[in-house]
């Protein structure tokens, strides 16, 4: 006779019997997230289906219907619903297809979050003195990086933080490396994350959310160079600069010595010609100023010179004035000779003057009894007016 048990006792017993960890491989379907925390999906193959339950915290890969995965979990019958499901502890992607899908899903999610935004890319130092490198010490990637670095430049201190770049430990070690550089005072001005190329599975660490967030959160600018040129990783997208290969990362981090020497020569030439240019300009300025000053000083000097010239002309002017006067005097003399009344008297005319010596031109000027003097060509006589009536006649005679 079987013992009778309560439902609770039954479920408890069943859970005891089926307890244990299992790894189950199947395809995801009916994937849904509840309240942003709980994840429900079915795992199925051609013939069977099993319910799965997980929390967002232990699901590291984004899932989607149709993806092939391997689930590590334990089976359980739930008290309240009586439902049987597998509680998922860990999910592993199986096959290139799933990896590709998970990669694209995560890429989309991080892109939407703004982790790859161009605006947040920082400038790298032009000439770093200290460079932090996160790589595997024996990898070809690190060897290539150092070779190109040495070919191009000198004087850089490389601080290598050795990590494994593949396998389960890789994401943790890489995030630890970023953490180390960001919390220790190493003086590194740029961080370089490099590894060789590989399949999507090989590059899993560089596509993991932890590594992408570590790159995103780094205070020091990051250059990421993974594999060959055609390989891309999410770490590339989030880095401040994406290098196509580890060698290219070295080319990005340091300038080329030959280019730099050219630049130095150019700089020197530039400041030299600039200096020369300015000196020429100054010289022109000085000459101009000198010209202005001398022309200002020249003006009064010229005035003075003109004055002397004018002064030298004075005697000449005086001479000509003198001769003019002399000529005038001579001609006046000639004129005077012609109009001399004495010459007229010699021709028989006489002059009558009154007692006061004033020339008499009119008979009316002489009254009866008035004395007058008559001047002849030779000598003179004193007369007296006897009859003023005949003045006119007398006058006529006199004239």
């Amino acid at each position: 006779m079987l013992p009778v048990m309560t439902v609770s006792e039954f479920i408890e017993q069943v859970n005891g019997i089926i307890a244990g960890e299992f790894v189950i491989e199947g395809e995801v379907s009916q994937y849904k997230i509840s309240q942003g925390k709980w994840i429900f999906f079915d795992l199925k193959d051609d013939k069977a289906v099993v319910n799965c339950f997980a929390t967002v915290f232990n699901l590291t890969h984004p899932l989607e219907d149709g993806m092939k995965i391997r689930v590590l979990g334990y089976p359980k019958v739930h008290d309240k619903s009586g439902r049987f499901s597998v509680t998922v502890q860990k999910v592993e992607l199986v096959g290139e297809g799933s990896l590709k899908k998970a990669y694209l899903l995560l890429k989309k999610k991080l892109e939407d979050e703004g982790l790859f935004a161009i605006e947040r890319k920082r400038a790298l130092p032009k000439i770093p003195m200290k460079v932090g490198v996160i790589a595997s010490r024996d990898s070809a990637a690190f060897g290539d990086f150092i070779r190109i670095l040495n070919n191009r430049w000198g004087g850089v201190e490389v601080n290598l933080f050795h990590v494994v770049v593949q396998g389960e430990q890789a994401p943790l070690e890489i995030t630890q490396a970023f953490n180390y550089f960001n919390t220790h005072d190493t003086g590194c001005e740029v961080l370089v994350l490099i590894r060789g190329g590989g399949s999507l599975e090989d590059l899993a660490a560089f596509n993991s959310e932890e590594v992408v967030r570590a790159v995103y959160g780094s205070k020091i600018p990051v250059v990421c160079g993974v594999g060959h040129e055609r390989d891309e990783s999410l770490a590339d997208f989030v880095a401040d600069r994406r290098a196509s290969t580890p060698s290219n990362a070295a080319e990005i981090v340091v300038p080329d010595k030959a280019d730099f020497l050219n630049e130095l020569d150019f700089s020197l030439e530039h400041i030299f010609s600039s200096m020369q240019n300015k000196i020429h300009r100054w010289r022109r300025l000085v000459e101009q100023n000198l010209y202005t000053i001398s022309s200002v000083l020249e003006a009064p000097l010229q005035k003075c010179r003109n004055l002397i010239l004018d002064f030298n002309r004075v005697p000449q002017t005086l001479q000509s004035v003198l001769s003019q006067r002399q000529a005038f005097v001579l001609s006046a003399q000639r004129l005077f000779k012609n109009v001399d009344p004495k010459r007229v008297l010699k021709r028989g005319y006489s002059i009558v003057k009154n007692a006061k010596g004033v020339l008499v031109k009119d008979a009316k000027q002489l009254d009866i009894g008035a004395e007058f003097v008559v001047e002849f060509g030779q000598g003179s006589v004193l007369g007296e007016v006897l009859d003023p009536k005949n003045k006119k006649i007398k006058q006529g005679k006199l004239l």
Partner: protein
């Protein structure tokens, strides 16, 4: 190595850039220009000298 340990390459390069920028200005003082030019020439010589002689150093960090 005949390089002064205190010589800071990046700093010197920055100084040189500043001098080049200074010369870009339209109006510069003649005396200061000559000083800056001499300074620039010296930095270029130092930088070249440094580049000739310096090698990269690699150090692995202990975790």
């Amino acid at each position: 190595m005949a390089i002064d340990k205190k010589f800071n390459f990046a700093k010197s390069y920055q100084d040189l850039q500043k001098i080049v920028e200074w010369f870009e200005k339209e109006e510069v003082d003649l005396e200061e220009g000559i000083t800056k030019f001499e300074e620039g020439s010296k930095i270029v010589t130092d930088l070249k000298n440094y580049l000739e002689k310096m090698e990269n150093k690699i150090k692995e960090l202990k975790k």
